[in-house]
Amino acid sequence: TETIESASNGILHNLLTTIIQDIVAKERVNSQVLNTRYPNIK
């Protein structure tokens, strides 16, 4: 049974995980780009 409590928690969880996954995705891609363009970068 969906309660207001569980629905709210679910929506907040979705929002937070979307933000986190977006941040991690962008950092991952940035690192890929740097490693590709400058393989010996320190």
């Binding site: 979705n14 979307t18 996954q21 977006d22 995705a25 991952r28 890929q32």
Partner: protein, 462 residues
Amino acid sequence: CKHIEQVFQNEKSKDGVLKSCNAARFILRHTPIKEKLLHTMKCSQCQEINAGSTFMCLQCDFVGCWNGSHFITHMKRFGHVFGINSSNGLLFCFKCMDYIGHLETINYSMLNKYWDDISTKTTIPSQERRDGLFGLVNMGSTCFMSSILQALIHNPYIVNYSMSQTHFVNCSIKNSSLCMSCALDAMIIEFYGQSKLQPISSSSSSSSSSSSSSPSAFISLLTCSLKINENFAGYSQQDAHEFLQYFLNQLHQDYKRDSSHNEQENNCPCVAHSIFQGELKSSIVCPECQNDSKTIIDPFMDLSLDIKDKTDLYQCLDSFHKKEKLHDFNYHCSRCNTSLDPIKQFTINKLPPMLVLQLKRFEHFVNGTNVKLNEFVQYPLYLNMRDYCDRNTNQETPDIIYELTGILSHIGSINEGHYVVVLKINDGRWFKFNDSMISVIKEDEALKQQAYLLFYTVRQIN
């Protein structure tokens, strides 16, 4: 990613992938957020919105979420391996379980497609144009304009704005003789973008110098300026500070003309306001009960500082900021019902990224006489504005450090004077711009100018 490489081995499938990627990204860029949430960010399987990242399948109309692993299920069922993240447009391989974000073939496929066309219609700027050093011949009395223009053209915020074509894209006029923002863009293109070599002549002294004929864009700007305001036509000497105010106002007006935003001036996102506008708090406080109901906050584009009997900039700022009792003021406090002289103080409520300080060198008297104050006022390389900011009693105000990046000085008398500007360019070197003559100068010489306008750029907040 060996999976995308496999696809790219076949020209037809490669083309198909690139087309789908570009189409998906175009849709994502041009779709309002509400529509995106209801379609591209809603999982086709569980119908949840934003259940983690959502991915648009490259091969069908399926959208799968991360949190429910529904794209993975789709992949296992149909063998569709690639998905585009609906939030950021990045391509994901569900076999490698990783993003393929670094492939230039995908990221710059549009550029690659049109490269031949681009390479014939554009030119690479010559190396000499790197610092945008271009003298401006004095066309009568244009030094007040050229010194301000040089300061703006070497302002990285303005250069960035211009080079990203932010104004050009939205301009309804697109003519540098009729639009001041277009004229500024044209000057920046000419200063930084010319591919022809400019003749450089070196003098016998240690400093290098360059002189060149005026760029045609400067002529367009003068034409435009004459059409808008005859006073700034350039054949009679005007005040450089007034010209700065006029010019920034023009940039704002150009933005307003072409923008659909109905912003109030306090929140205007135009280039002039976003770089130069701060907020000044004028507080009028009752000495009895501290009532500050008559306190107001006003925007400012520059601060004008008294320099009489002052020897350095901090003294000028201290004087500007100090608390003063207001005499002969019809003040009545509604809270405590007293009529004591209130305490007035200016504090900075919000600092701009570029702080312009005018040292009030010109005094204009009621009897018509004008006097110029020639006293030297010392100014620092780094200016800490912390003490002049409105202090939040709950938090400690941090050091807010500004770096000196430009000094506009006035040489000569009030009626027969000349403006010169000294600017710090890209790699930290100081250059003096004197109409058509540009020369390298040492830092200690830069600090010895008879400053009229000081340009400070925000550097660090501790």
